[in-house]
């Protein structure tokens, strides 16, 4: 590490914090989108009608089994052809949210499926109305499994935000690339960014493990 230059790290800091800010912003909005859209998919997957279940299954499996990067380019280049003009940041956030919504859908579905059948039967036996069955019986039990699993996908999303550099969104990796291109110092910015990801992701995963131990019994 003879050629490590601390002043290059210092020079990178303004860009770095801009990158952190944008990355977290994309992460927050992407997570919200994936949580809500995932819920829509999950209700589709749990639907009684096979004409709803089947198409939702096909769509989510397709999105889940194809690369986020290609979906990103698809949205970035194809949407304008249909007259939808999104900025790169918006496209990136939508792509991440859409991609991960297919994962969160599986989380919701698994969480609801894990509630024992007896709970449903008990709710029916007590002739609870539909919304009481969901909100007072099923969801409080399902949420314990759902929350830690959703958290894990938020961490995955964080680690996928650098893909947005591919459509020149100014998140962490792109900031590092620009810095390197301007100063010809590749070592410091990229290393700082790599370590930053570990520093955010590791405590987050520790926190989730604690949460999981608390909630899932």
């Amino acid at each position: 590490m003879s050629n490590w230059d601390w002043s290059a790290v210092a020079d990178f800091m303004p860009r770095f914090w801009d990158g952190v800010q944008l990355t977290l912003q994309i992460l927050a909005l992407g997570s919200l989108l994936s949580f809500s859209l995932g819920l829509v998919w999950a209700f589709g997957l749990l639907s009684a009608s096979r004409f709803v279940r089947w198409p939702v299954n096909v769509v989510t499996e397709f999105i889940r089994n194809t690369p986020l990067l290609v979906q990103l380019f698809f949205l970035f280049f194809v949407l304008p052809e249909f007259g939808v003009q999104f900025s790169a940041v918006t496209t990136g956030t939508v792509a991440i949210g859409l991609h991960y919504s297919t994962y969160t859908a599986q989380v919701y579905k698994a969480g609801i499926d894990a509630v024992p059948l007896g709970q449903w039967e008990a709710a029916t036996a007590l002739s609870l109305p539909r919304h009481r069955t969901w909100f007072a019986v099923i969801l409080p039990q399902a949420i314990r499994r759902i929350v830690p699993a959703l958290g894990n996908y938020v961490v995955s999303m964080l680690k996928d935000t650098p893909l947005l550099a591919g459509i020149s969104v100014l998140e962490l990796l792109q900031q590092a690339r620009l810095e390197s291109a301007a100063t010809f110092q590749y070592t410091e910015p990229l290393t700082v960014v790599g370590i930053a990801f570990i520093l955010i992701a590791y405590p987050a995963s520790l926190l989730l493990r604690v949460l999981e131990r608390r909630l899932v019994r």
């Binding site: 089994n65 690369p67 990067l69 194809v78 550099a165 070592t187 790599g194 992701a201």
Partner: protein, 227 residues
């Protein structure tokens, strides 16, 4: 789209994607078993180092790691990787870390009585691992490994950002040549989906074979039967 574009860009691109997936999967499997078994080692220092490896490589982004291997490592060690191998190394090392967790989990899920029986029979730790734990743990690993394999396949698309000519990079070139984004990117997504589908099918066969090897009938299990 013309036949020339298919022949010169897309088909070689598919081949590169398949090669990348294969090589990274082999490396990831080696890493996963090595690190996963090290996490059950009796010496704390071995367990600790294996734990550090998993957290570091699971903590960072595969794309950042790839850029780091590609742009930073040459400056540190004085020689550069062929782009393809930088990519294989980055994918193999990071997905290997995810796989290590799978291996560790599967080893931990083998009933303790099996391990104790091994100790009672005076097996060495390596004999216990090879003859008792692994044969029972491996079939349990196949479904999560399948998920990781699909993630890995999707991860290979990242190499196009380094300018490696995989199918995503081919799509980019075709887009520049034809200006028909919707067509080429739809085709590319379908190509990935077909590869993923075939890999999943293949892994289902592997799962059935390995489970049959220890006397579990997958079909009966799915139908609610017991061992």
């Amino acid at each position: 789209m013309t036949a020339g574009l298919w022949q010169h860009w897309i088909l070689p691109g598919i081949w590169t994607t398949l090669q990348l997936t294969l090589y990274s999967a082999v490396l990831a499997t080696v890493v996963a078993f090595g690190i996963g078994m090290a996490r059950t080692h009796r010496l704390w220092i071995v367990r600790f180092l294996a734990g550090v490896y998993t957290e570091v490589f699971r903590g960072t982004s595969a794309l950042v790691l790839m850029f780091w291997l590609f742009f930073v490592v040459p400056g540190l060690i004085g020689w550069a990787f062929v782009p393809m191998w930088a990519a294989v190394l980055a994918l193999g090392l990071s997905y290997g870390a995810y796989g290590a967790e799978v291996v560790r989990g599967a080893l931990a899920s083998v009933t303790p009585a099996q391990r104790e029986a091994g100790i009672a029979l005076n097996f060495t730790p390596w004999q216990r691992m090879r003859l008792i734990l692994l044969p029972q743990a491996v079939p349990e690993m196949i479904p999560p490994f399948n998920n990781l394999l699909i993630e890995l396949l999707k991860g290979t698309a990242l190499v196009s950002l380094l300018g490696i000519g995989d199918v995503s990079f081919a799509a980019y070139l075709v887009r520049l040549a034809t200006q028909e984004s919707a067509q080429i990117y739809s085709i590319t997504l379908v190509i990935y989906f077909v590869i993923a589908f075939l890999l999943t099918r293949g892994m289902k066969v592997v799962e059935r074979r390995t489970k049959a090897g220890i006397g579990i009938d997958v079909k009966a299990q799915a139908a609610g039967g017991t061992r």
